[in-house]
């Protein structure tokens, strides 16, 4: 019974995509209803797998049409769900379910919702299939569906400025990524004569031939494009900005996680290359460059969603650096950060969407003072900003903390100075992330409210509910990270490092032993120093102490006064005695003190990010060439 769940979840989404197109074209409610039911059922099916896979350690395998292996050669398409797949599948279902919920309120002014939901279901189904399939060509098919659904959704609001441009950039760079992947897969097929990942893994366990190395480089580059690793990050900024926000959230929550998943699956399972020093260093450097470039570009942005897009790139840099280390600690940190990124970046995109929906713009120069009009959104945003900047007790802190520890441990163990630089980069990027969210806080939620936004109201409840859920999850997974580690991260990291079970589940018992696949033993990661419960208790005790002093001193201390009466000058902000109405200053370019020292760097960045697709395509080609070259020169 259980083994049908993964394939049912995927098929359901694809089928309902067609049903929505047939029956939902006329009525908004029907389209919404079908999409939500499909998303809910599919999410339920995946959640039902937590117990057998994560806790009992089963691996679910399923042969489509019962085409089981013949004479130890896999000929059919197999679905295989181990803890790693399920970990990402959980992220995917959570994201698209919340996005669907958010779409109800967010998309209600748009036309052609039938098409929207069709594409939404296609995208959800493809990413879900991508993370659960056991067949490498099926993986490619899912990547293609994902890319084209994403392109169409990017251009969904094609009346708005830049939508078609963003979609076109996405289309060009995305198809290049798909072609790299396809070439790699073709090479791999020529080498191994099979498309089943478990079988390829056992065939390649004897050592990588030059063909396999070429395939490895191309596939890594292909998934690098999907996860927007530098230098493939270029279409991300436009696509995230112009897509409807519910879709931006899907992009950052699922689509680039699909890229990360592909990388982990290839490095750790198919090619077993995680203990090769070259791969580790190369990807760690790519990751460090990605996080640094993303955050510095974000500091220069004047557009809320574009800024978030660059932060997405930056955070993926953390994930790539962490998973490239090849250690259990690094993998745990990377997976944890991938999960946290899904949560907090989703939350931030939702708040951006609420601002866009309620105010009509996300230009930081035209916003300000919304905290009094949208208090709930503000609080949710502050939670998300705290989480992404890695402030305790939110989840970003826990995962970043593991990542720092993992990189520095790697540096100390291997004696390579480059990892020290990566550690410093990771720590400094965290502060810069904080800086750019301070900028958003000041420019959007605090500061002076603009005259034309006097009548802005809070977002409707159906849009706020996903925000509450995400804010809650951000805090909960930061405080109870032990729980998360035990039931999600440890099984997933374990599955990535011990593949003989994965191979046996697909190809029959004993297959892995014949192929002499080596396993790594994984000890559960111990979090000895950071115990958020203690800190929270301390926080609570001190808070109660402070509250007692404040309340006890009510007769002694001065009063706290506030008033919303505009005639009372006492409550104006002080602007050298001027009237309040003359004191408006925008907050979108806060960091000139920082940027003036980086003029040369920003000039260079401006030249690189020219907005011309030809440049971006050549950057992608150069990036792929560098990856393949590194592999060939240093791997043997």
């Amino acid at each position: 019974m259980m083994q049908h769940f993964p394939v049912l979840a995927v098929m359901l989404l694809f089928l309902s995509a067609f049903i929505v197109e047939i029956f939902g074209a006329k009525s908004k409610a029907v389209a919404q209803g079908i999409a939500m039911i499909a998303a809910t059922v599919s999410a339920g099916l995946i959640y039902a797998l937590i117990k057998p896979v994560m806790i009992d350690g089963q691996i679910i395998s399923y042969w489509m049409g019962n085409w089981a292996p013949v004479e130890e050669y896999a000929i059919g398409i197999g679905y295989e769900v181990d803890a790693l797949s399920l970990f990402f599948a959980l992220l995917v279902v959570t994201t698209f379910w919340l996005s669907g919920l958010y779409s109800i309120g967010y998309m209600n002014k748009d036309h052609h919702l039938g098409h929207y939901y069709t594409l939404y279901l296609m995208l959800s189904g493809s990413v879900l299939g991508l993370v659960m399939t056991g067949d490498i060509f099926n993986l490619f098919v899912m990547v293609e569906i994902m890319t084209f659904a994403s392109v169409a959704l990017t251009a969904f609001r094609n009346f708005s400025e830049g939508a078609l441009e963003g979609a076109f950039k996405y289309l060009v760079i995305g198809s290049m990524g798909s072609s790299f992947t396809l070439t790699g897969i073709a090479l791999l097929y020529a080498e191994c004569h099979t498309l089943n990942m478990a079988q390829i893994a056992s065939i390649l366990a004897g050592g990588l031939s030059p063909t396999a190395i070429a395939a490895f480089g191309l596939i890594i580059a292909g998934f690098g494009v999907k996860s927007y690793m530098v230098p493939f990050h270029t279409p991300a900024a436009d696509a995230y900005t112009v897509a409807p926000t519910s879709i931006s959230m899907i992009f950052s929550g699922m689509v680039n996680k699909a890229g990360v998943y592909g990388m982990i699956r290839m490095i750790y399972i198919v090619f077993r290359a995680m203990d090769k020093g070259t791969v580790q260093q190369m990807l760690a450097i790519f990751g460090a460059v990605t996080m640094f470039l993303g955050v510095t570009m974000a500091l220069a942005q004047h557009e809320f969603k574009r800024l978030l897009a660059f932060h997405s790139i930056s955070q993926i840099g953390y994930v790539i650096t962490a998973v490239s280390l090849g250690s259990a600690l690094g993998l745990t940190g990377g997976l944890f950060h991938a999960m946290n990124h899904t949560l907090f970046k989703g939350l931030l995109f939702l708040t951006a969407g609420a601002v866009l929906k309620q105010v009509g713009t996300t230009n930081l120069d035209k916003l300000g003072g919304l905290s009094k009009r949208m208090p709930h959104t503000t609080i949710c945003f502050l939670v998300g900003a705290g989480a992404i900047s890695g402030l305790p007790p939110f989840n970003g802190f826990a995962s970043k903390w593991i990542i720092y520890q993992a990189i520095y441990t790697k540096a100390v163990e291997s004696g390579k100075f480059v990892y020290v630089l990566c550690t410093i980069c990771a720590l400094v990027v965290s502060v810069m992330t904080l800086a750019s969210f301070i900028k958003v806080t000041q420019a959007v939620f605090f500061g002076q409210l603009r005259k034309e936004h006097e009548n802005v109201t809070e977002a409707p409840f159906s849009m706020r509910l996903p925000m509450y859920i995400m804010a809650l999850l951000c805090t909960a997974s930061g405080v109870f990270y032990d729980f998360v580690n035990k039931y999600l991260l440890h099984p997933a990291a374990n599955a990535a490092l011990n593949i003989s079970k994965y191979i046996d589940a697909m190809m029959g018992p004993g297959y892995a032993a014949n192929a002499r696949v080596s396993d790594m033993s994984v000890e559960p990661v111990a979090f000895s120093y950071w115990n958020p419960i203690i800190w929270l208790v301390l926080f609570g005790v001190l808070f109660i102490g402070a509250a007692l002093v404040i309340l006890g001193g009510r007769n002694e201390r001065g009063q706290i006064l506030s008033s919303s009466d505009p005639s009372q000058a006492k409550y104006d902000t002080f602007f050298s005695g001027e009237k309040e109405m003359y004191s408006q200053v925008g907050g979108s370019d806060l960091f000139w003190g920082f940027k003036s020292n980086w003029k040369g760097y920003y000039k260079f960045m401006e030249a690189i990010h020219s907005g011309i697709v030809n440049d971006y395509a050549s950057m992608a080609v150069v990036g792929t060439a560098v990856i393949c070259l590194c592999m060939f020169l240093f791997m043997r």
Partner: protein, 316 residues
């Protein structure tokens, strides 16, 4: 009994009350000695205490555009995070909550107090505060780079082949091998740390964020009464925390065996450090511009720290 002991630790020593008293003492000494350096009589040592209590007795006005919850909550959050840090900084042999101290956590908690100031200032809606928080944030980015390198240097020096981020382990290492300051490869890092302290606390050449003569105290502009008092207290508490952190990182390793005496020596060393790296620099320099501050920290101070890191990495 254990609970009472913990509550004593949290609220009295070495938590909230001790940090407050020691911080106000350092702030008082700082003001008095500056006055002496400028041939003035100067305020009494208790002046910061008087300031604090006076502010407690004044009205707290919440501006109309401010978000009341954030505006009043920010100083309290900053205060709590600072009071917690002191619990995890060992005072020579004595730690209130041993085993859970971690350098990275301390780094982030210090950041939280800065963020509290920034968010509080930001929520007040004043344009001066907008400029102030920008400068505060750039200052934070400036000193964070050298600070991070210093922490990594100490971790590598103490840990050798293992990874050690724990304050306890650093203390234990110093008890076995002598203070880290007397390792010559650590001297550049210690110097860099001495330069990080004034920026972290925000004293004269590095107080660009709160420049009262040009941007009306920046983030604090709209604060009055008790909320302002708590922010002023936070600054004073940062003095003892940063100098205390220096003492634990670089000058740990000996103990008299009596906690009270240890604490006295600890506070004495902190006072000397305050005079060295805050008062003297304050008395002889004028305020920097924000671009200069950033460049100074990312080149000179970070270079010092990096030199130490490379020396330590070479096994010296």
């Amino acid at each position: 009994m254990e609970i009472l002991k913990s509550i004593f630790y949290i609220l009295v020593f070495p938590g909230a009350l001790f940090t407050m008293v020691a911080g106000l003492w350092l702030a008082g000494v700082d003001r008095k000695v500056i006055a002496k350096m400028q041939k003035r009589i100067g305020p009494p040592i208790l002046q910061p205490t008087y300031d604090f209590f006076k502010l407690m007795g004044k009205e707290t006005i919440v501006p109309r555009v401010a978000n009341r919850l954030v505006f009043l909550g920010a100083p309290v959050i900053g205060f709590i995070s600072l009071a917690i840090i002191m619990l995890f900084i060992p005072i020579f042999g004595f730690t209130a909550f041993s085993g859970s101290a971690d350098l990275i956590v301390i780094l982030y908690l210090i950041t939280i107090s800065g963020v509290a100031l920034i968010v509080g200032g930001s929520s007040s809606g004043s344009p001066y505060a907008g400029i102030g928080i920008s400068r505060e944030m750039v200052t934070m980015m400036s000193y964070e780079l050298p600070f991070v390198i210093i922490l990594l240097t100490v971790a590598k020096k103490v840990g050798g082949a293992d990874l050690v981020f724990s304050m306890d382990a650093i203390g234990a290492w110093q008890r076995a091998n002598g203070s880290l300051l007397f390792q010559w490869s650590m001297i550049p890092a210690a110097l860099a740390m001495l330069l990080v302290i004034p920026a972290e606390v925000g004293v004269q050449p590095f107080d660009v964020a709160e420049a009262e003569t040009e941007i009306c105290e920046g983030p604090l502009i709209e604060y009055s009464g008790a909320a302002l008092g708590v922010f002023k207290l936070n600054t004073a508490m940062k003095m003892i925390i940063m100098t205390g952190l220096f003492t634990s990182l670089f000058l740990g390793g000996f103990t008299t065996g009596i906690v009270a005496l240890d604490v006295l020596i600890f506070v004495a060393i902190c006072t000397v450090l305050t005079l060295l790296c805050m008062t003297t620099i304050h008395a002889v320099t004028a305020r920097l511009k924000i671009e200069h501050l950033f460049r100074f920290y990312w080149t000179f101070v970070a270079g010092l720290a990096m030199a130490s890191l490379i020396l330590v990495w070479c096994g010296l």
